[in-house]
Symmetry: C2
């Protein structure tokens, strides 16, 4: 692992705070490279920016965990488990040792929780007042020869499953930004869902065993379902009434006069980090049972159908009417 | 590869400009993960920031090449060849399609030159005026079981070799910043050396075959020699007269009244991206001959000696006097 440049201060900071996080193949962060000792790894990269993906005053430990977990989410959705990560950080001019200590503590807690280790990385520092940037490359071990489960494997007739509940993180961002207030308990729950994703690592094995296609939801259920449909060249019919909604999100829904557009809005919110996957009909019952056995609730929310014209996602109301979905995902040129 | 968020614009930009760069295991950048198909890879990460590692108005293609080459440099210094890379970019608010097109063209030219392919990555965009950030994780294939050649393998008696010439990039930065002007030709040469590192990929095989320890010089010869000494627990005696100096750097040296402090200054400048390695005496002749045969000039600049007290690097003048070295590397809290 390299500090930029390797002056005494940052060299000692890496030794003090990051070396304890290092695992096999990392050479204890004393060299320029790391050795990937496991064969057939998969990898993914997420780059998170202050002011875009987190707030400047979010706790350092939570920022660390959010960066790790958004990456872990990518890996487990593919039927693999996280093993290692490379970390690149651009500190701000104000980043002090206490911040780095808390950031490293957040990494330590989560890498212990998810069974992974630091391999190496690079640190540098802005020369002007500029936002903190964290880039993480994660490596995962596929749990079977069927993994990585891609976006492109879904077929007509497959059932569509979703883990957990949707829309909470999007509402949590509104609470965090002061644009929404519900009960104290609901506010706390929703903010937590925004600040700290909960990647469903226990589901990785079941995805690897049963899913024909899968991805994690970061851009919103409808947008990511759309990505899966395009890659698989199928369409999806999703039932709004079946969407798994938390009590807190339900209390928000009840405040709105129109129920269906509210559900569609939840299905368009981002940052859920739940798993969306398709499962052939003959494995659906076992998938759901085994997922429950692994402690993860999954809900069948629809099915894949033949694309008419082009692959698309349709959200249907209880009576079968098409609910017009709002913007799929968000466009950061205008909205983010 | 993921755009953040996957709105139409950036999705299409990735498809148009980055998909042509993708290689085996990348799933054509259509999924969230990539598959590392080669066993026993090594990897490294560098994160480069506008205003720290490059100028805002440097050509996009040159920024792309600098990011790739600083990472390639890490890999070849370990006796390995580059194979794949993951790319994370935080665009500025002003980054337009033309900039991205030129950036991708720079990547294309260099990945063809060095025989490597894009695996995946992530793009996002600043919400406020903020510097461009590029994070690159590179994967390399070790050329023998002796690779990766670490910093820690040097022994007393080993000879110290350096590829190419040193100090050019540091002088080039001074020229680029308007703090130095030599002849037009020298200015051009030095600026080029700063803007476009020349990683010695043909030397990777020889390092893998002969070197006991190695690293690439990014913080300056003296600073990186110091890193190697600390990791190997040896000291080094380097001969100032033997340091390989380009004609352009020599013209700068001649302008100075004091020759030895000038040499020491060149040995402390950063961004050389040459290879520093140690070779046991019995392999030194073959290493030098084979390196020359591969088209890379290497110079024996000193030897490893037993550490007295603690590992350190001493730069000696022609008559054996100790030249006091200036700051080893630079400290970006005060200098960068």
């Amino acid at each position: 692992m390299k500090s930029e440049k390797e002056n005494l201060d940052e060299f000692l900071l890496i030794k003090k705070y990051f070396q304890p996080l290092a695992g096999p193949g990392s050479f204890d962060l004393t060299d320029d490279v790391a050795h990937l000792l496991s064969p057939k790894l998969i990898c993914s990269n997420d780059i998170l920016v202050e002011g875009v993906h987190f707030f400047a005053d979010d706790p350092a430990g939570l920022i660390a965990k959010k960066v790790l977990r958004t990456n872990i989410s990518d890996i487990v959705a593919k039927g693999a488990v996280p093993e290692y990560y490379m970390l690149g950080v651009v500190f701000t001019q104000k980043t002090d040792e206490l911040w780095i200590e808390r950031f490293a503590k957040g990494l330590q807690e989560d890498q212990d929780l998810y069974g992974m280790r630091l391999l190496g990385g690079d640190t540098t520092r802005h020369q002007k007042p500029s936002p903190l940037v964290v880039s993480l490359t994660i490596f995962g071990r596929p749990l079977s020869d069927r993994s990585p489960v891609l976006r492109s494997g879904a077929s007509t007739g497959d059932l569509v499953f979703l883990s957990g509940t949707i829309g909470d993180a999007g509402l949590g961002l509104m609470v965090r930004s002061g644009d929404l207030s519900l009960s104290a308990g609901a506010n706390r729950f929703l903010k937590r869902r925004y600040l700290l994703p909960d990647p469903k690592i226990a589901l990785a094995e079941k995805v690897s065993a049963y899913a024909s296609a899968a991805l994690d939801i970061s851009d919103g259920l409808l947008a990511d379902a759309d990505h899966l449909c395009k890659a698989s060249e199928v369409s999806m019919e999703l039932s709004a009434e079946k969407l798994p909604i938390s009590d807190a999100a339900n209390s928000w829904l009840k405040q709105r006069k129109e129920h269906d557009p509210g559900l569609a809005a939840l299905a368009a919110m981002g940052d859920d980090y739940e798993i969306l996957c398709t499962v052939p009909a003959d494995g659906a019952q076992l998938f759901q049972t085994e997922a429950a056995g692994a402690g993860v609730s999954v809900t069948a929310i629809g099915r894949c159908v033949a694309p008419e014209g082009y692959p698309k996602v349709t959200l249907l109301s209880k009576n079968g009417a098409i609910i017009v979905a709002p913007t799929h995902g968000f466009n950061h040129f205008s909205q983010n």
